[in-house]
């Protein structure tokens, strides 16, 4: 039984923690938070690229480190702990994974080295309005290689160089690569629930679009990309949830009320124990997702769903109860609790809400345990 990080992976994770704790301080995150004109921390992005982490799971032949997905999971966890304000998930968990999954050799050779080098920021654009996008309401379309339509919200759509867009072509849904610096693209920055993760609207009016993967596979590929992203996001979420528990613990041990530290009150102790239990459930499910992702196992859809549901719940619970443990101070802008509260929702929604994943999980279980 070897259901944990290896020593090498732990070493990498530890290095990532040291780097990020030094470079992605609360002050650095707040520069993005408090400045409406800044969508991400460009210095941190450059630093992360120099570490090679953008290409951790990209094969060496395409300019990556070729380490594997468990290593990427370890990095994701550390990103989550520091609420890193960079387009890491959009570029690596969604776009690079989509290209690895569905790209042809030329697309891989063109795009993956740029991602690995930090020269290309990506975004993944499916949503068009409130609610779930599906075959009956998808309206973006490609005709003669030109994309028309509106995608909103698109995380990092305001800063990305490349978008992968879900659109119809000849009545069949597909995924399309679109150069956001090219013709026929306009975009605007919108306000995000989590201002440390930028969000935009992309408007396409005849933008050149190249298909990624087979015609008609748009929704299937999107699901497959979401499965992969869900596992990686689960690690980012678990990292954030662990940090919430640590913050709550530290505060409770230092805060006195009624003559003693509040960490001694059972109401607080049991709250923190509940956080711990949820975080363990999240971590264990995330590990299983990592195993399935790394081995490309047929269990991936079920494992990814469980990982996403558990991690979304743990981070939501941890982030809200961390504020509660901090009392009034937790509700101030100056204390970091709200950064995690906001990020827990951003990460919990960006690849589809937990409710959607629960339905997806149960559908899978129904097939697996067919009557």
């Amino acid at each position: 039984m070897n259901f944990d990080y290896s020593d090498d992976q732990k070493f990498l994770k530890n290095e990532a923690r040291k780097f990020l704790e030094a470079r992605c301080t609360s002050a650095a995150v707040r520069k993005v938070l408090d400045n409406a004109d800044v969508s991400f921390d460009a210095d941190l992005w450059k630093g992360v690229a120099e570490q090679g982490w953008l290409g951790a799971a990209i094969p060496e032949e395409f300019g990556g480190l070729g380490l594997g997905h468990i290593e990427l999971c370890a990095i994701a966890e550390e990103m989550g702990r520091v609420v890193a304000p960079i387009p890491f998930a959009s570029t690596v968990f969604f776009v690079a994974e989509a290209i690895l999954l569905a790209g042809d050799d030329a697309q891989k050779a063109d795009l993956l080295p740029k991602i690995a080098a930090g020269e290309l920021i990506g975004c993944f654009a499916t949503s068009e309005g409130p609610g779930v996008v599906n075959a009956s309401n998808l309206s973006a379309k490609v005709e003669g290689g030109k994309l028309t339509g509106v995608k909103i919200p698109v995380t990092d759509g305001d800063i990305a160089d490349l978008a992968i867009v879900l659109a119809n072509e000849g009545g069949k849904a597909g995924l399309f690569l679109v150069d956001l610096k090219g013709a026929g693209v306009s975009r605007d920055t919108l306000q995000s629930l989590d201002p440390t993760r930028g969000v935009g609207r992309l408007t396409f009016a005849g933008a050149p679009a190249t298909r990624l993967g087979a015609a008609g596979d748009g929704f299937t590929l999107t699901e497959q990309v979401f499965d992969r992203a869900a596992v990686l996001l689960a690690f980012e979420q678990t990292g954030g949830a662990d940090k919430c528990l640590e913050m709550a613990r530290e505060y409770a041990l230092g805060r006195y009320a009624f003559g003693r530290v509040i960490a001694g009150y059972q109401a607080i102790k049991h709250k923190l124990a509940d956080m711990y239990v949820k975080n363990q459930v999240a971590r264990s499910n995330a590990y299983y997702g990592a195993w399935a992702l790394n081995t490309n196992a047929p269990e991936l859809p079920v494992a990814a769903s469980a990982a996403r549901i558990a991690a979304s719940e743990a981070y939501w619970f941890g982030s809200k109860e961390n504020i509660q443990t901090h009392g009034g101070m937790g509700f101030t802008w100056e204390v970091d609790c709200h950064l995690y509260y906001r990020r827990s929702r951003q990460l919990g929604l960006v690849a589809g809400a937990p409710k959607v994943w629960k339905e997806r999980l149960v559908s899978q279980l129904e097939r697996k345990n067919a009557a």
Binding site: M1, N2, F3, D4, Y5, S6, I70, L245, R249, A252, L253, R260, V261, A263, G264, Q266, I268, K269, H270, L272, A273, D274, Y276, V277, Q280, V281, A282, R283, S284, N285, Y287, Y288, A290, W291, N294, T295, S305, A306, I309, A310, E313, K355, W357, K358, E359, L361, V362, L365, E366, N369, A371
Partner: protein
């Protein structure tokens, strides 16, 4: 990251499997579908013969030293054997408390003669041991023991009552925590003894539980006379000895018993809900997803514990999360199952109720599971204090003579 045994572990598992395949067939009849034992003489006889068989082959207490009949094996080997044993349906559970907690305490504190007399028969399943700690006035507060032992020459005379003693009705011996000095603070005035459960001064009365069954007992002592040589540890060191007993608690490897997510999915496929087939109900589907995720979380957390064992680490009290999740899930899921049956859910008659009334049985048993072996609240305290390092509760009884500690009834 994988689920594979190391080559040594795989070889051990293979050998265990081969041995089980050869020997288990004639001993089948372990825990029933609802995870509880019939406690019949036939079932006990089957369990005892299986235990003797395991002892002969060194599978009875794998981690014990060879000189005491163990195999000198690792905790992980013990887990592996337990997994394989469960698969073939020969895990009985009558000996778990005795061999997991009581006899190791005897081995740690008794003299050579006592150990020689008791360890072998217990290992072979010839004699069963129980643990007599909880009392009516002290459930979670084990150190509030009031059962009293008074010295009389070379003997001690014991009076009082224990409660919630698992298996006392079929046990031969027990380890008993008593108060020997009420004039010092509570943790300092206790002493541990081993006792003969067949002594006429020991009165075992099965508890009629809220679930209807009687797995647990009250045990009364009326002038029970024990020799000073039956003492385990020093006079006044009973708490220290009890902590050793509690630390020996077996690494939990079993899954939760009773209906699981598949059972309730099957039920939902058969039943009509307010808006059509119950399986199509959105609220149910969301809950089902949550149950699956929690159950998987539990199973996978055990894999992480096994990984720690495999790497030679000692798992800490983090395994306390298991029972909190399993017990609450059992209660929630059984109630949902019963409600899904609508008016029919009232039936607990196994010949009428779906799944032989599995959900009703489990609903009635669940409150006990949330209390036994550490309540939800105590387990959360354990996580808070021993895992997260938060302070212990304020103790108003800590520096007070036990006789002066305020009591209710």
């Amino acid at each position: 990251m994988d689920f594979n045994d190391s080559p040594e572990e795989a070889a051990y598992r293979e050998a265990a499997r081969a041995w089980l395949e050869k020997n288990a067939a004639e001993h089948k009849g372990g825990a029933s579908a609802n995870g509880r034992r019939p406690n019949s003489p036939e079932h006990m006889a089957l369990a005892k013969s299986w235990q003797a068989k395991k002892a002969e082959a060194g599978y009875a207490c794998i981690t014990w030293p060879k000189e005491w009949g163990g195999a000198g094996g690792t905790p992980l080997q013990s887990v592996i054997f337990g997994q394989e044993e469960s698969k073939v349906g020969v895990n009985y559970g009558y000996f778990t408390i005795g061999l997991g907690m009581c006899v190791p305490t005897v081995m740690a504190f008794a003299d050579a003669e006592t150990k020689t007399r008791f360890v072998g028969p217990a290992l072979r399943g010839e004699e069963i041991w129980c643990q007599l700690f909880s009392e009516p006035a002290g459930g979670s507060d084990v150190a509030a023991t009031r059962t009293k032992a008074v010295r009389d020459g070379d003997d001690w005379v014991i009076n009082g009552q224990k409660v919630w003693t698992t298996g006392a009705q079929y046990c031969d011996y027990g380890i008993l925590l008593v108060r020997t000095d009420p004039d010092v603070p509570k943790h300092k005035g206790m002493t541990m003894f081993w006792i003969d459960m067949h002594d006429p001064a020991v009165d075992v009365r099965p508890i009629h539980q809220a679930s209807g069954g009687s797995e647990f007992n009250e045990v009364y002592f009326s002038d029970l006379r024990v020799k000073d040589s039956q003492r385990l540890g020093e006079v006044g060191d009973g708490w220290k000895v009890a902590l050793v007993t509690l630390m020996n608690e077996r690494l939990a490897v079993g899954g939760s018993s009773g209906p699981d997510y598949k059972t309730i999915m099957d039920l939902a496929r058969q039943v009509t809900g307010p808006g059509g087939a119950a399986i199509k109900d959105g609220a149910f589907r969301e809950k089902l997803a949550d149950w699956y995720v929690a159950a998987e979380g539990l199973k996978l957390t055990r894999f992480r514990t096994m990984t720690a064992l495999s790497r030679g680490q000692t798992p800490g009290p983090e395994s306390s999360i298991g029972k909190i999740i399993a017990a609450n899930q059992m209660q929630d899921m059984s109630n949902q199952g019963v409600e899904m049956e609508d008016q029919y859910g009232i039936l607990v008659d196994p010949s009428e109720a779906p799944m032989q009334a599995a959900f009703q049985q489990s609903l009635l048993w669940a409150p006990g599971l949330r209390i036994a072996g550490g309540t939800d609240e105590i387990l959360k305290n354990i996580i808070a204090e021993r895992v997260l390092g938060l302070p212990g509760d304020v103790r108003v009884d800590k520096d007070v003579a036990f006789k002066d500690v305020p009591t209710g009834r």
